[in-house]
Amino acid sequence: MLDRTPRKAHRLNLTPLIDIIFLLVVFFMVSSQFQQEHLLPMQLGMFSKTENIKKKKEDYLLIELLSDNRLRVKGRHYALHDMASILEKEKDDIHVLITPHKKSHLQNLVTVIENLQHLGVEQASLFEQEVR
């Protein structure tokens, strides 16, 4: 009968495993993106000539987006989030024209579009002012 070799208490060395898992955790932490990006359709009609608007002036509401984060409608100034008071006296099917001034930021334009959609405006167009 063969003598059995005495069993040694084997302990698995877990340190390299932990190293690798830590590396993986750090990799996924750094390279993952949690912020959701969305796409806003910019299929709004654009007018390149002012004549197009002048034809039916009463059917349109011109909202000017000023560079100081304010809106100008019919000569009066409004705050950016004051869209409800601008639209309350207008017809439900009013066609809104948005025209940003040169130094107005994109964020303000997106906010205006967002507010209009929340208030149920169906017809809105972006309009670039002609450089005079």
């Binding site: 898992i21 969305h38 997106v110």
Partner: protein, 131 residues
């Protein structure tokens, strides 16, 4: 009188709970995160609750805060953009053109870009926003 010292135990830290937690973290980041290629220019898109999910193939035009332009992964000059757009849209007429612009970029610049895309034959134009 000599006091007897307490016997030293061979201390071994039980690593199994640690590994469990790290595995949980690993699985969380693998499932909850989304791997994405880094943008060629740094852009902080405008905040908005509106918008649809990003689906399908698209050509992305990046506009950084300082006005640097890039198409997909390549930086381009503003004067080359119309030609690039025409080339892309002649090959793939239904290609969606996505504008990823910084929130501090001038709105008028974006309108001019949309006009350029429309003149080059682009119909599906979208703007990247973030929640």
């Amino acid at each position: 009188m000599r006091l007897s010292r307490p016997k030293k135990h061979a201390l071994t830290i039980d690593l199994i709970p640690l590994i469990n937690i790290i595995f949980l973290l690993l699985v969380f980041f693998m499932l909850a995160g989304r791997l994405q290629q880094l943008d060629v220019v740094e852009v902080d898109p405008p905040m908005s609750q509106l918008g649809e999910e990003r689906i399908g193939r698209m050509t992305t035009i990046f506009i950084a805060k300082d006005g640097t332009l890039a198409v997909n992964q390549d930086e381009v000059q503003a004067e080359d953009l119309p030609l690039i757009l025409r080339t892309v849209l002649e090959k793939y007429p239904m290609m969606r053109i996505t504008i990823k612009a910084d929130r501090d970029v001038a709105s008028t610049g974006i309108l001019r870009l949309i006009k350029e895309i429309q003149m080059a034959g682009g119909h599906q134009i979208t703007l990247v926003t973030q929640e």
